[in-house]
Amino acid sequence: MPINYYIFLSLAVFCIGIIGVLTRRNSIIIFMCVELMLNAANLLLVAFSKMHHLVLGTNFPTLASEAQVFVFFIMVVAAAEVSVGLAIIVMLYRNTHSVDVNFLNRLKN
């Protein structure tokens, strides 16, 4: 597969994620769209890893694994973020009984 296909696929997912963030008001869904963006990056990284492996793999067999390890760490971070994020959303929901991001706008101007 040419790398461009993966690039454009990832970009598509990434942009869909962004559109989701922009158009939805449910904070959980916005968060999910952010996860979509992260996954786009993951996919891209893996694709690049395999691309580099194709070129460099013969001389540096472990080189391309870096990106895959990176993806692993992204997943780690995502998990941590999710736990914190959901905790915050839940806290908010307990206080306001809403998950609408626009429900609270005491802070402005």
Partner: protein, 632 residues
């Protein structure tokens, strides 16, 4: 060391007098301040006489005291130049000045003692400044005196400072003088730029190196200075107003000395003016125009001092005419005689006013002859002198100027004679209305009428004698061979000018004829006025239109008010209210307001909604990418 080095004492004595009277004005008694005030002038006078004797034989001396300014590109010494011209002026200033001081001790006696002392301190300061003016060895020192006399004139005109009209007059005098001063200063700058110095002798030595433009420019500017100080068109209007000051002040400053500073300055710079024929023409024309204009105004004035003031302006005009036609000696001569008879007339007027308890309107006088004989006689002599009746002093000096004018251009002479006729007319109108006929004042005033005390009459008598005989030092050649002693005396000063001008030799017949015409005309005018106004009655009839214009001084004050003062005031107001407040400050504040406004608007970006924030961020990201990739 030349013993003339001590001439510094001449101005120093009045300065001492000023300081003593000024600082001790609360403790000094009137007598003491009078004695100090007059005494220092007497001292200066005696020194002046001595100086006169020293330079009589053609000596000149420059006394250098210290370096006033000493820069690589400009050296100005604190120098006094003692020569024939300055010594002559010294005599006039200190001599007439002394008489007027003596006169003042009596005239000002009703003032409180501290005001009395203040008055004398001002007078002394004036003498000091005037002496600096004439003694200065360069234009800078002259300018110091030049502005100094302006200041003293300001102080003395506004001596009674509670009266706002007097203050306005004082202010007007100072400001108009300053306009002239600006011209003077610019001339000095020009000189410094071209010659690199302001010393008289260096300037005159280097005068040939200057271009015609330079000389014309410099002399024109100097003449502007002279018009301010010597009350010529267009800056003459302050002088009549200056009559607000005490009468002896008018006599000293506004008749005898300060106003002649312009003539002194031009006479001093005669070489420059001689080399600038264009300027000379202007000087002559302006002088003559002033002489006529002031004379016409004087015809219809009713204030005794105003008449004298306009006559002063008119006589100064004659002097400038003399300067303009190259008759420097004549001009200086006229300065001298004018100092005598005009001081006399002013002091006489003061005596009258004193007797009339402050009344100055001649329509309310009349018949004073029988109450104040000394004043009357001396005043009459003064009038004859100014009217140019032979053999009184005015005849000789005025005749010399007119003769020179004729030699230059007969038209100048013709107009000059016309002015002389008017002079005779208004002076005798004044004389007749004051001293002849019957008294027109209130009963109260009549009761008070009395001859003035000796301190007033003695100066009058001395001045009257001078007014009669003063002209004899300049009896022209036509009468006595070698008669013009003054011309011989002043020859070292004007020799340079004479050397480069062509002398118009007139036949004696012509001279006699000219004299006859002017004297005859003046006599007719004199007798007509005498006859007409000795029977003057108060009447309420309106003046004719031309009379009204004359009585209102050709509306020149109003004209100035309209074309200069008012526009300047409204321009200032416009600048203050519109340009400054709304324009410049408005712009500066506008920046502040714009920042505030921008702040108020830009904060709405911060809408508080995450959606909007992220949208804006995405737009930002878009912009970043567009800049990075599509802007090339």
């Amino acid at each position: 060391m030349n013993n003339l080095q001590i001439v510094w004492l001449i101005p120093f004595l009045p300065l001492i007098g000023f300081l003593i009277n000024g600082l001790g004005r609360k403790s000094l008694s009137k007598t003491l301040s009078g004695i100090i005030g007059s005494g220092v002038i007497l001292g200066s006078f005696i020194l002046s006489v001595w100086v006169f004797l020293q330079v009589k034989n053609g000596n000149t001396y420059v006394a250098h005291y210290y370096d006033f300014i000493n820069l690589p590109s400009l050296k100005i010494g604190f120098d006094f130049q003692i020569d024939q011209l300055s010594s002559l002026f010294l005599l006039i200033i200190t001599g007439v000045g002394f008489l007027i001081h003596v006169y003042s001790t009596s005239y000002m006696h009703e003032e409180e003692s501290k005001d009395f002392a203040k008055y004398f301190s001002y007078l002394n300061l004036f003498i000091f400044s005037m002496l600096l003016l004439v003694m200065g060895g360069n234009y800078i020192i002259m300018f110091i005196g030049w502005e100094g006399v302006g200041l003293c004139s300001y102080l003395l005109i506004g001596f009674w400072f509670k009266n706002n009209d007097y203050n306005n007059a004082a202010k007007k005098a100072f400001i108009m003088n300053r306009i002239g001063d600006l011209g003077f200063l610019l001339a000095v700058f020009w000189l410094i730029a071209k010659v690199g110095t302001a010393d008289y002798h260096v300037v005159f030595e280097n005068v040939h190196k200057l271009s015609v433009t330079d000389i014309t420019g410099i002399t024109m500017l100097l003449f502007v200075g002279a018009t301010g100080k010597s009350a010529q068109i267009p800056l003459y209007t302050w002088l009549p107003d200056a009559m607000a000051g005490p009468t002896p002040v008018s006599a000293l400053i506004h008749a005898a000395t300060m106003v002649t500073a312009g003539i002194y300055m031009i006479a001093r710079s005669n070489l420059l003016f001689t080399m600038a024929p264009a300027t000379q023409t202007v000087v002559a024309i302006v002088g003559l125009a002033t002489a006529i204009l002031a004379a016409t105004i004087a015809l219809k004035q009713n204030d005794i001092k105003k008449v004298l003031a306009y006559s002063t302006v008119s006589q100064l005009g004659y002097m400038f005419l003399g300067l303009g036609v190259g008759a420097y000696t004549g001009a200086v001569f006229h300065v001298m005689t004018h100092a005598f008879f005009k001081a006399l007339l002013f002091l006489g007027a003061g005596s009258v006013i004193h007797a009339m308890s402050g009344e100055q309107d001649i329509r309310n006088m009349g018949g004073l002859k029988k109450y104040m004989s000394v004043t009357h006689v001396t005043f009459l002599l003064g009038c004859l002198a100014i009217a140019g009746m032979p053999p009184f002093s005015g005849f000789f000096s005025k005749d010399e100027i007119l003769a020179a004018a004729f030699a230059n251009n007969p038209v100048l002479w013709g107009v000059g004679v016309l002015g002389a006729l008017m002079t005779a007319f208004y002076m005798f109108r004044l004389y007749a209305m004051t001293f002849l006929g019957k008294f027109r004042g209130t009963h109260d005033q009549e009761h008070h009428l009395h001859e003035s005390p000796a301190a007033i009459t003695i100066p009058l008598i001395i001045l009257a004698i001078l007014a009669v005989v003063g002209g004899w030092v300049g009896i022209p050649e036509v009468f006595i061979h070698g008669g013009h002693r003054l011309e011989a005396f002043l020859d070292p000063i004007f020799a340079g000018s004479k050397a480069i001008t062509t002398q118009h030799e007139m036949s004696h017949t012509t001279e006699y004829a000219l004299m006859a015409v002017s004297v005859g005309g003046a006599l007719v005018a004199l007798l007509y006025a005498w006859n007409k106004f000795s029977k003057y009655e108060k009447s309420t009839t309106e003046d004719s239109s031309i009379g009204k214009i004359l009585a209102n001084k050709w509306y020149v004050d109003e004209l100035y008010e309209t074309i200069i003062v008012k526009p300047m005031q409204s321009l200032a107001g416009f600048l203050n209210n519109t340009v400054e407040r709304k324009g410049i400050d408005g712009f500066v504040n506008g920046i502040g307001k714009a920042v505030n406004y921008g702040s108020r608007q830009i904060r709405f970006l911060q809408s508080g909604q995450v959606g909007t924030y992220i949208l804006l961020m995405v737009v930002g990201i878009l912009i970043m990418f567009i800049i990075q990739f599509l802007s090339k």
